[in-house]
């Protein structure tokens, strides 16, 4: 079982972020080849991942489940526990390229709904003031690479923060951009593109407010009657 756990850890690190389907695609042959039984349910998978976490946490690595409303999915993210924008993804990058990452993050974090149109991401204005700015083709290549790693998400002509940014940069985002990026008051986790109160517009995680509303029918923040429907698929700003 230990070999399976380690193999799974390496696969998670490789993928950076995985949905349940991918987890299953990896675990099925992996468990079969080492003749152990696969964790059968999502709960069993979470327990399996918890075990792995116990062994890698003290080394600055972790596996975290996060609900990502934009794609309506829950992802397992491989994240370093004390990452900053500077330490991220900077293997072999120039100082200007690292700055591009920070600036992208900054631009998205401060934008409405935390997203920017894709062409803005390649805008030269981004790199004003840099001595040796990367070329446009290089910017495109880097953004694609960072999106594959889960730091950004390219969807419907917009660039959003990806699941890995939300996990690895949770502290950085909520402390540096406290005006724009809030934590859900019910669970203290970062909340983006999720359910808002009809009266005060404060955002909550769908699951958090769902649980809360089973006992009360008011907004936890402003106290007014909760009116926003908790339908299955929600748009970015409901």
């Amino acid at each position: 079982m230990e070999v399976v756990k380690r193999g799974f850890t390496r696969a998670c690190k490789n993928h950076s972020y995985l949905c349940y389907e991918t987890i299953d695609e990896i675990l099925t042959p992996l468990c079969a080849s080492h003749k152990v039984s696969k964790p059968a349910s999502n709960e069993a998978i979470k327990a399996f991942v918890n075990d792995i976490n116990d062994s890698i946490r003290d080394l600055g690595q972790s596996l975290v489940f996060i609900k990502y409303p934009l794609m309506g999915k829950e992802y397992l993210v491989y994240a370093k526990t004390d990452a900053t924008p500077d330490s991220i993804a900077n293997t072999g990058l120039t100082a200007e390229e690292c700055q591009y990452f920070s600036k992208l993050l900054d631009k998205i974090a401060t934008a409405d709904d935390c997203r920017i149109p894709w062409n803005v991401a390649y805008n030269e204005l981004f790199l004003q003031g840099l001595a040796k700015p990367p070329k446009k083709s290089r910017m495109q290549h880097l953004l694609q690479k960072w999106s594959q790693m889960g730091y950004f998400l390219d969807k419907d002509e917009y660039i959003y923060l990806g699941p890995r940014s939300l996990v690895e940069l949770n502290f950085y985002l909520t402390s540096s951009y406290s005006e724009h990026i809030k934590s859900c008051t019910l669970c203290k986790g970062l909340v983006l593109w999720d359910i808002r109160c009809g009266s005060c517009q404060i955002q909550f995680h769908r699951d958090c407010i769902h649980t809360y509303l089973q006992k009360r029918d008011i907004c936890p923040s402003c106290g007014s009657l909760w009116t926003t429907p908790l339908r299955r698929s929600s748009s970015a700003s409901s």
Partner: protein, 232 residues
């Protein structure tokens, strides 16, 4: 257990001052480990001097290398070893071959497929093949190494001759029979391929690709395994 008499201890301390191995995880251990993990994705050998920078200096690194190596093996199944004492570089390989292609991202899969085709061909031809013959085989599969390929990408030759070689998947050898002949280039399985991909796996791949019974490759399998044992 180590001897604990005072005399022995102080003598040991004097003798092993330079290689007093750290056994607890500290900030520097984490820094070295993180450096290795961050760079292992590219699969390119890691330089000792870069590790020394991550650790602070060479001595701090030396004290922790043993622990870092153990941790990588125990917690991640990553084998960290010196590739070459001359160039002082290290590589990370996995303790076991991949159980399925799903362990790779969709972007990585075309590369590994090409690699498998090449490794299979080298394996079938007795573990050493001249570059021109390899490229000839690829042409039969409609893969022109100097042209953009729809599935395998823009620079197939670079992928084979540079990337795969740097990543230690392929080994490149020059051979010159005598001073009058042109030197020839041969490709063999690299260190990483031997560690991460089993011959049996390649046999299964070959059987599927060539629509043959896996047992048809018993001869090549025996040859490869014998060569392996000889090396060890």
């Amino acid at each position: 257990m180590a001897s604990t008499s005072r005399a022995a201890r102080s003598q040991n301390a004097n003798l092993t001052q330079a290689t007093q191995h750290i056994t607890e995880v500290d900030g520097k251990v984490r820094a070295i480990l993180n450096y290795i993990l961050d760079h292992s994705a590219e699969q390119i050998p890691i330089k000792e001097k870069d590790l020394a920078t991550a650790a602070g200096d060479k001595n701090e690194l030396k004290k922790r290398l043993q622990l870092v190596t153990e941790l990588l093996a125990q917690r991640f199944g990553i084998i960290f070893k010196q590739l070459d004492s001359a160039t002082k570089t290290y590589i990370c390989t996995s303790e076991a071959p991949m159980a399925s292609i799903h362990e790779l991202t969709p972007v990585q899969r075309p590369q590994i497929t090409l690699l498998y085709i090449i490794l299979m061909y080298i394996f079938l031809r007795g573990n050493r093949i001249e570059d021109s013959k390899l490229y000839g085989m690829l042409e039969l599969l409609n893969i022109q190494v100097d042209e953009e390929h729809g599935y395998f990408g823009a620079n197939v030759r670079k992928l084979i001759e540079e990337t795969f070689v740097k990543q230690q998947y392929l080994k490149r050898e020059r051979s010159q029979l005598n001073a009058y002949d042109d030197p020839k280039i041969f490709f063999l399985w690299g260190l990483r391929a031997k560690a991460e991909i089993s011959y049996e796996h390649i046999v299964q791949f070959a059987a599927k690709l060539l629509n043959q019974d896996p047992r048809n490759f018993d001869h090549q399998l025996a040859m490869a395994q014998a060569a392996e044992n000889e090396e060890q």
